[in-house]
Structure formats: C-alpha cells, structure tokens
C-alpha cells in the first residue's frame, strides 16, 4: 500500500481515538524505564504464542527463528515507546500484518499476545511510577491508544493482504475453468479441420465438388474458431461504455437483423418508438443479441419470442421472454457465472458479458424462469430522458 495514503489513514485513526502530541510526550517520558525490561516482556509474549498449537505451527524455524522474532519484537516495543510516530513507523506496522498473512498466523493470536504484552508494559510502568496517580492513569490511557492504533494498522494490512490473496486464488480457479471451456470450443472446429485435411490427403477419388466442400468447411470452421477467440478477447477487456441517448426500438431492430430466427418462432416486439436509454449502443446490442439468441436456442421446437419495452421514469426496462422449457431452479443461480452453459456449443460467456455490460451502465439484469413456463430476462438501463448527463461509465 502507498506509504503516504497509509500515513494519511493512520492520521485519521489518530484523530478518531483523540491522539495528541501530549499522548506522545507521556509515553516517550517513560521509555527509559521500560527499556531494561524489554527482553523479559518479549520472552513472556512468546511464551504465550508458543502455548497455542495453531500459532506455534507457523514458527517453522524452531528456536533460532524465535530468537530472531524476539529481536524484532524488542525493536517494535522500543519504537512504540520512543516514536516518532511517522510515516516510517506506520509502514513498519503494515509490514507486520502483511507478514502474518505470509506465514499464515491467524490474527486472533496477534490480539491475545498483544494483550499480554500490553499488560506487561503497564505492570512495569506502574512498578516504577513515582508521580501522581492521575497522571499514571492518563499515561496508561495514552499507551492503550497507541497500541490500539498499531493493532489497527496490523489488522488492516492483514485483511487487505488476505483478501488480495483470496481473490488471486479465485481468479486462478476461474482461469482454469475458462481454459477448459475454451479448449473444448477450439477443439471442435479443429476436429472438423483435421478430418477434412485427412480426407483431402487420403480420399481415393475425390470429385472436385467434394474437394471444394471440404475446403469450404475448413474455411467455415476457422471462422468459428476465430469467433471463440474474439469472444474471449472481448470478455477479457470489455471497454467502459461510452453512453449517449440511444433509441431503444432502433437498437432492438438492429440486433434482430443480425440474428436468424427459424419460422417456427413467432416474434413479437412491443416498444414505444420514442423510448431513449442512456447507453453504449454497440454494447447494448451485445446484451440484446445474447438474450435473443438464448431465447431462440431455448425453443428448438418453436415458440413465441416476446420483446417488451417500458420506460419507467429513470429507467428503461427491456424484457426478452421465450416459451421454451425454462431453467431448472437449481441452475438459476449459476446461469450468469462465466463458463457456465447448458448448450453443447458455446463457451458460456454470453450472460456473464451481458451482466458486466449492464452493470457498467448502472443498470441490472433480472431473470424469471419456470420449468415448462419459459424464461423472461429483464434488462434495466438508465433512461436518457431522466439523466442525460450521467454517463454511467464511472459506475463500478
């Protein structure tokens, strides 16, 4: 994490606990008294740590490592007592939390062990305190604030790093899953290409027509393979939408022109001619295209495809309904996951991409489906009339 940002955050936390220069002065004043007891305090701290099997197991280097760690901890307490509580101080605390993730030390142990160290320091100070009791109470309060601040930074670093690593693991799993799906989708066209090549090389008496047929097939399958790669590339770097007022009806018609619907599917479109949405037309065509193709594919034996648009104040709602077999309830939560598909052909990115696009527009997608009753997908997009200035591009 950026050291300046981190220090800024520390300053915020200081303000939150009411930390002042007076607190710093009180603690610095007793630093010399604590100094001779550092090694005993640290020994006690590690005794606590090593009593817990889960905490002990992260110390893999045995006694030499413990000695090293004790040295580090002595420096930590010394810096705690003497300051200065500057950028460098905070960065060092951050690294402790980071290190705990690295070695797999649960934060629970940081908390209990620090609690022990805290009471140890208080005990030492009280033993040598010669001033008024009221001042000793103030001093101890200052110490608590300081240790809590340190702990907050360590915790923060721990959480931050922990989440980062978790996300990495999940990303890796997703990449593996995706690689498998892409492999399947590329091997299909390769299979056709390879078999056509085999035929052309080995056929006994291929007619010119046959040869032409196989060459065309190779060409067609190369295009299919290229389409898979394009879909992947689109998914990998979906550009932020460049939104402008878009006529919804026109966008739907343009999308329908690119999709072949069999005669067995009856198409109904009901859209107010003037409805405007604040959208990136090229991206919305991807969304509508995916939903319409899915609806078509859900109705192999024919049916009715209905596209309904209603402008509801700040939003435009576009519903795409089919009269196909519907989605089983157990599959519903998964349909927008990347690489999830029930189709024999397809990498399962259509709905994932669609949702990503709609979310970036500041809208959302809903689905309602009943087995035997067909499916309805509803896309909600900001209307252009309501928020002409909102580009939506800044939405997460």
């Amino acid at each position: 994490m950026d050291a300046d940002l981190l220090f800024e955050r520390y300053r915020e936390l200081q303000a939150y606990v009411g930390w002042t220069e007076a607190d710093a002065a009180r603690i610095n004043a007793v630093a010399d008294q604590v100094e001779p007891h550092l090694s005993q305090l640290v020994d006690d701290f590690y005794e606590e740590i090593t009593r817990h099997p889960d905490a002990r197991k992260v110390i893999t280097g045995g006694q030499p490592q413990i000695e090293r760690l004790k040295g580090t901890l002595i420096v930590w307490v010394r810096e705690l007592m003497r300051g200065p509580y500057d950028r460098d101080h905070v960065a060092k605390r951050w690294r402790i939390g980071w290190r705990h993730v690295e070695i797999g030390l649960d934060q629970v142990y940081t908390n209990v062990a620090l609690s022990r160290l805290r009471s140890g320091i208080v005990r030492v100070i009280q033993q040598y305190w010669r001033g008024p009791v009221s001042e000793s109470i103030e001093m101890i309060e200052s110490l608590h604030k300081l240790i809590d601040l340190d702990l907050a930074i360590i915790e923060d670093a721990y959480q931050c790093e922990h989440l980062k690593r978790q996300a990495q693991v999940e990303r890796l799993a997703a990449v593996g899953h995706m690689a498998g799906g892409v492999a399947h989708e590329l091997r299909q066209p390769l299979n056709v290409i390879r078999s056509s090549v085999y035929y052309l090389q080995h056929a006994r008496n291929p007619t010119p027509e046959k040869t032409g047929e196989h060459l065309e097939r190779i060409d067609r399958q190369v295009k299919l393979a290229d389409g898979v790669i394009t879909a992947m590339a689109d998914f990998a770097k979906l550009p932020s939408p460049r939104t402008e007022p878009v006529n919804v009806s026109q966008c739907i018609m343009e999308t329908l022109e690119t999709i072949r619907l069999p005669d067995s599917i009856e198409l109904n479109v009901d859209c107010p001619a003037t409805a405007l949405m604040q959208a990136d037309a090229s991206q919305l065509r991807i969304v509508l295209g995916n939903l319409i193709r899915n609806a078509r594919d859900a109705m192999r034996d024919g049916g009715r495809l209905t596209i309904d648009v209603s402008a509801l104040g700040e939003h435009v709602e576009i519903t795409v309904s089919d009269t196909g077999g519907g989605i089983p309830p157990e599959l519903l939560p998964r349909i927008m996951e990347p690489m999830f598909t029930t189709k024999a052909r397809g990498i399962g990115l259509g709905l994932t991409i669609s949702r990503a696009i709609v979310t970036k527009h500041g809208g959302h997608i809903r689905v309602h489906s009943e087995v035997g009753g067909g499916s309805t997908f509803t896309v909600v997009i900001p209307s252009a009339a309501a928020k002409p200035s909102d580009t939506g591009a800044t939405q997460p």
């Binding site: 091997r187 299909q188 006994r204 196989h214 097939r217 067609r220 052909r345």
Partner: protein, 252 residues
C-alpha cells in the same frame, strides 16, 4: 471362395458405423472418410435420432460425441447397450479428461478418443475392434448376462446379449459371431433347438451350452439328434475355465 466362405457371407454384410455428433460438419467428414474406406455410415445429430436408427439396424461400431444437447453421449451409450450390446462404442470428446470420460469407460465404452481426432489412431482402432471375436450370450438371467458381458468385454470381446430364443434369432440373423453361450433352459424352448439353428445359419460359429444341472445337460446333449455343442459349462460358472474355453474356441 469356398462354400464355407459363401455361407459366412450370407449372414455378414457391409460393416456398419453410426456417427453421432451435433456438429454437422464432423458428421459429413466422417461419412466421407469412413465411406471412402468401404464402411456403411449412418449419422445422427442427437441422441433421439441415434436411438431411432439403432432400433432399426445393428451397428458394428458407434462413434458418439460425449457432449451433446439433450441426451449426452454417456446416456446414449447406456441406452444403445440395452438395445444392441455388441456394438463397439467409441466415445469422442473435445475434453481432455474428466469425470464423464472416466464414467464412459467404466460403463463399458470401447475407447475414448479425444478431439481433434487423430485418424491414424482412430481408423486402426475401429478396424481392430471389428476383428475382435464376437460372442453372443443367450440366457434369461439378466444379472448373469451383465456379469459375463463385463468380464468378456474387459478382455476385448464384442458381446451381444439375448434373453430368449426370439432375441437370439435376431442376433444370429443380423451378424457373424464366433461363439454362442447358450443356457439350456430358455423361456420359449430349450437351448439345443437354438444350437441347431446356429449351426445351420453360421456353421463356423462355436457353441457352448450352459446348465445348472449336470445330469440334465448330459441327458439333453445325448438325446439331441442335431449337432452337439463344442463345449459345455455348468453353473455356477467357473469363470477362469470358461475364459480358457472361449479363448481356445476362438483360436481354433
């Protein structure tokens, strides 16, 4: 060509291959390649089409894509096995490995072939499967049939199953086979009748009669006026000795 050859060829026809894949281009390509090699090729784009074909014709080999809409390749294989268990099923898949492929092997698929298919491997695999001896089992005990199917299939025999004389007749008329394992007691008659039929239709085929009663079997064999079995086998079947007998008879 000898008379015996003629007799054999009266039953045997062109080798039939069924290709099941939802990709039309691959169906067309396999039809071209296998057709060019002299196989009779039928194709189906999904499981239901395939089952309709299998109900009408006995296929020697079926090449089935694992991932298809509707009935997937594995389920299709299970259903084909019930209709015509002697069909050698080769599962094709664009997935490198995976649980489904393993399940297909466990269910008795002959081989899993990955896509893109290597024809220098696939074609000898098909030809090799077709030269493996075919065995028919005729017994009304379905569990025994299933067990023998698995045991013989593991040793690379192609195994057809019939539970009564009618089923058995259909099998005998449809295809050449090397050995028939026949239960002496069948629902519509006794095994010696079937033995007679087999020897008449496929003189090259060997027959093993099976019975739970040693005396009964011996009596039946003695009493039978027609051809005698090439071997007999008593229940409970000693698998090792049955396998030895089968091996010896297929070599002879």
């Amino acid at each position: 060509m000898t008379l015996q050859d003629l007799n054999t060829h009266a039953v045997s026809t062109m080798r039939r291959i069924l290709v099941v894949d939802d990709e039309p281009d691959i169906r067309a390509n396999l039809t071209d390649i296998l057709g060019d090699l002299g196989y009779e090729v039928d194709t189906a784009g999904n499981g239901n089409e395939a089952l309709a074909l299998v109900e009408r014709k006995a296929y020697d080999v079926a090449l089935i894509d694992l991932k298809m809409p509707g009935i997937d390749g594995l389920e299709l294989y299970r259903r084909i096995k019930k209709i015509h268990s002697a069909t050698v099923v080769i599962i094709t898949t664009a997935y490198a490995g995976g649980d489904t492929a393993r399940a297909a092997m466990a269910a008795g698929a002959w081989e899993i072939v990955s896509k893109p298919m290597d024809f220098n491997m696939l074609l000898p695999l098909i030809e090799g499967a077709l030269t493996q001896p075919a065995i028919i089992i005729v017994d009304d005990d379905t569990d025994l049939c299933d067990n023998l199917w698995s045991i013989l299939h593991d040793r690379r025999y192609r195994v057809g199953i019939a539970h009564d004389i009618d089923d058995a007749q259909a099998l005998i008329e449809a295809r050449d086979f090397s050995i028939a394992l026949i239960d002496l007691k069948l629902p519509q008659g006794d095994g010696t009748q079937l033995l007679q039929l087999i020897k008449a239709r496929q003189p090259d085929a060997r027959a093993i009669l099976i019975s739970g009663h040693r005396a009964e079997l011996d009596d039946a064999v003695r009493a039978a006026t027609g051809p005698s079995p090439d071997a007999v086998c008593y229940k409970p079947i000693d698998i090792e000795s049955l396998l030895t007998t089968v091996r010896d008879l297929t070599r002879a």
